[in-house]
């Protein structure tokens, strides 16, 4: 009844490269081209030199128009190209593709937006020292960039289903279950640095607010960073008939590996800095491997079809891995 599994080499290819190229390379290129063109068309209305940096009391750094056009264009192109390469060559998991494209768009909008916004407040001004404040520009650019990144995340397709009928590795640990018995394993994991990180955010907001007097900006910044910290450092890990679910306490992001895509689950020791360059949702450059890494130590690692590897740092990972192997085994003839 079961058709022979298609050659795995086909599965090992990175999916949806067109979407990745369009959103991680095409959109940033369009943004950079538009803002560069706009800046060029304004060159007769701008003072010389122009303001390129603002302090608390207005413009305090000045430079040439060329520099302020060229540098965001170059920096944006380089960063977007690197992120596109990450998504194009190592984007076997949707998170990598989404993250790469979203970050590319976010970064280029932020860079180009602040640059073009900084120029817009100087149009028709004879002396750059009289240019107005750019607080509003920064705030609006930040919000637009974040919203655009959110849209990009939605546009990039998820992973196509890649079920396997191969048996789970016989050497992998199992958990004994009775015939009629059903089981689930639920475990919360919180980063030990959680409260430290939240404290850091509160302190930053207070400092930016007190020193800069820009409470609005401080608050938006604080809420954004605070929410991402909560979302990325506190997770619920579930193994049940739906497979492995790793869900942020805010319910998003949420990763799910269905049982029919589990090749084998095991326990590994993770060193966040050495293997993933930090904490949070991390993607390895070597392709395939990604993880929810909130602390050092044991992690539940799943070898998934399509050459993908997913891991989550969690206590008692041995029980979770054994149950996952057992439940996955039940789905194979």
């Amino acid at each position: 009844m079961t058709a022979p599994a298609p050659a795995t080499t086909r599965h090992d290819k990175v999916p949806y490269r067109g979407w990745t190229t369009l959103l991680a390379l095409g959109v940033p290129a369009a943004i950079i081209a538009t803002t560069t063109g706009l800046a060029m068309s304004w060159r007769h209305d701008l003072p010389d030199p122009i303001a390129v940096h603002w302090g608390l009391n207005g413009p305090d750094g000045f430079g040439s128009l060329t520099t302020s056009i060229v540098w965001p264009a170059v920096a944006g192109s380089v960063v977007a190209s690197l992120l596109w390469a990450l998504g194009f060559f190592a984007g076997r998991q949707s998170f990598t593709r989404r993250g790469a494209a979203a970050l590319a768009v976010w970064f280029t909008i932020l860079l180009s937006g602040v640059s073009i916004g900084g120029l817009s407040v100087q149009r028709g001004v004879a002396d750059a020292r009289d240019a107005g404040s750019i607080d509003g520009v920064i705030l609006v650019t930040f919000l637009v960039a974040t919203a655009a990144a959110g849209i990009v995340t939605r546009l990039i397709p998820g992973d196509p289903p890649l079920p396997t009928s191969e048996p789970v590795s016989p050497t992998a640990a199992r958990l004994k279950l009775g015939r009629g018995e059903d089981a689930s394993w639920v475990r919360d994991v919180t980063s030990p640095g959680y409260f430290l990180a939240i404290g850091g955010v509160v302190l930053t907001v207070a400092l930016v607010g007190l020193l800069g007097g820009q409470w609005w900006f401080a608050l938006v910044l604080g809420v954004t960073i605070g929410l991402s910290l909560v979302a990325f450092l506190h997770w619920t890990v579930i193994v049940d008939r739906d497979g492995l679910t790793v869900r942020s306490i805010l319910r998003r992001p949420c990763f799910r590996i269905p049982l029919n895509e589990v090749e084998m689950a095991e326990v590994v020791e993770v060193r966040p800095l050495r293997e993933f360059g930090g904490w949070g949702i991390r993607s390895g450059m070597t392709g395939g491997r990604m993880g929810v890494v909130v602390r050092k130590g044991p992690a539940l690692q799943v070898h998934r079809t399509g050459g993908r590897v997913f891991l989550v740092t969690v206590d008692d990972a041995a029980t979770g891995a054994a149950l996952l192997n057992t439940l996955a085994g039940r789905t194979r003839g």
């Binding site: 018995e181 059903d182 639920v186 008939r241 739906d242």
Partner: protein, 116 residues
């Protein structure tokens, strides 16, 4: 926390779940201060009614094994440690009975007598 259920078994599902929380505490897997997963997550995951899980949690709460607080979830109390110590004492009794070749029936009747 690992939960197993056997829907075809004679024991009610809530009782099955409560028993597993008790024995996890006895084995030292659930220690004071640890949090049980949210009842909703457990119910969704096992495909059972939320009230079944809440019933199990209430049962072990009535035994003093967990605290149920709105917003904080189900937290193991110091009673978890007591259950663990008692379990160790029971293990000791069982080991001695085994060494002496005393039958489980005799051991059990001695225990029952001592408990009265």
């Amino acid at each position: 926390m690992l939960f197993r259920i056997d829907p075809s078994g004679t024991e009610p599902l809530a009782a099955q779940l409560a028993r597993q929380i008790r024995s996890a505490a006895a084995r030292g897997e659930l220690t004071p201060g640890m949090r049980l997963p949210s009842a909703r997550d457990v119910a969704d995951s096992l495909g059972v009614n939320l009230h079944t899980v809440l019933r199990a949690y209430q049962d072990v709460r009535d035994e003093g094994l967990i605290d149920l607080r709105r917003g904080r979830g189900a937290v193991m109390t110091s009673a978890a440690r007591d259950v663990r110590r008692l379990r160790e004492a029971v293990d000791h009794v069982v080991a001695v009975a085994h060494d002496l070749g005393v039958s489980p029936t005799t051991t059990l009747s001695l225990m029952k007598e001592a408990l009265q």
